[in-house]
Amino acid sequence: MATIKQNIIILTIAIALVLGIALPSISFASFSFPYSNTVAASLTVPNVCVDVLSNTVIAFGSVAPTANAPITNAVVDTNDGNIAANILLDGTNWIASATVNYFVTNTVWDFSAHASGISYTSANSLGLAPGNLVNTFNVIGVSAQVPLYFGTTVPALAAPATYSQTVTIENLC
């Protein structure tokens, strides 16, 4: 009887020892279900400026030699970018044909309208394109709108004809 008891005790101790050693060493592999991966993505938004003009035609109408078309013809420049820009201007000569033309400096501009009272000789003139861009030294801010007013004068010796020119308005950034 004593022997059976001893055997039971010994067996119990042995089982306890086995479990005590084995259990801590049992590890379960961890996994998540369902499996998932992540991908890192990045995006860089650069500084940009955009030039949007309100209109692409300035009709001065009929202007007699030595007369002026007032500086009231507006073109609004809008900067749709995310950085401020400088406004640059130039233009071509007024041309009716290969031999009939007069100079681009007869077209003047300003940031405010002048119906009268401004001397065309002191107003801002356009530079001759290409290569003679005029820096208005006006910074157009983000989402800002800057109106530019144009006028023109006709030289005394200009021949009667239909003249056309091109005016360029650019944002530099």
Binding site: D51, T56, T152, S164, T168
Partner: protein, 234 residues
């Protein structure tokens, strides 16, 4: 209240005319944009470099464009201005499309020196779809500043020092050879051989012992040792 069919047609025509006039007057205008920042070139004389300018169409309609190359200005007189190759010079941007414009600048060597600087404006303009006469056609666009610097060459010490060292070594070796310090030592003359000829040492027989070298002790003959003994006895 129902509309008269004739009135309806008039309204539709008026609406169409309004829309058409809006396009004709160009109320949408240019919507040409560019990525900000000047193009700065630093190039050696006679060298070439390429940078890109990126433009894009932020509008909802195709945008035809043209590129005006820069006119360079400099404060120094009598220089030869840089030349530029730009590609493409024109094209059409689809709505929301962007385009890289390649700008290649070359600085000629003639009449130029390191440190010279040129500046110019590169223009990208929308091509207006308007052929109206007797008016001023307004073109919108974007402009990019271009700065070109003639690079000052940097001093590379290795390009000077290594050849100088080689030249010095060659010169030193040549000098020492000329003055005889590098010449070979004269060969030793062979010892004169007697008429009898030198006898080759006899080969030792196998198993025999080598002769013992004679000791350096002073030799004394029997006679000399006996005479010393006699002197002592006296």
């Amino acid at each position: 209240m129902r509309m008269n069919p004739a009135s309806k047609n008039i309204a539709l025509i008026a609406l169409a005319a309004l829309i058409a006039s809006a396009f004709w007057a160009g109320s949408a205008g240019a919507q040409l944009g560019e990525i900000a920042g000047p193009l700065n070139f630093t190039i050696g004389l006679g060298g070439t470099a390429t940078l890109n300018m990126t433009i894009f169409n932020s509008g909802t309609a195709p945008l035809p464009y043209k590129v005006i190359p820069p006119f360079f200005h400099t404060a120094t007189a009598n220089t030869t201005k840089p030349t530029t190759v730009i590609s493409p010079l024109s094209g059409t941007l689809a709505p929301r499309q962007s385009q890289a414009i390649s700008v290649t600048v070359t600085i000629p060597s003639a009449n130029n020196k390191p440190g010279y600087v040129w500046s110019g404006i590169l223009q990208v303009l929308e091509v207006p779809n308007n052929t109206q006469q007797g008016v001023a056609i307004v073109e919108g666009g974007v402009a990019k500043g271009i700065n070109v610097n003639a690079a000052v060459p940097t001093f590379n010490y290795l390009e000077i020092v290594i050849p100088a060292v080689i030249i010095i070594i060659i010169a030193a070796v040549a000098f020492m050879w000329k003055t005889g310090r590098l010449q070979r030592a004269p060969a030793r003359k062979a010892a004169p051989v007697s008429a009898r000829g030198r006898k080759a040492p006899a080969r030792r027989k196998a198993g025999s012992r080598a002769r013992k070298a004679p000791s350096k002790k002073r030799r004394t003959t029997k006679r000399a040792s006996s005479s010393r003994a006699r002197r002592r006895r006296r």
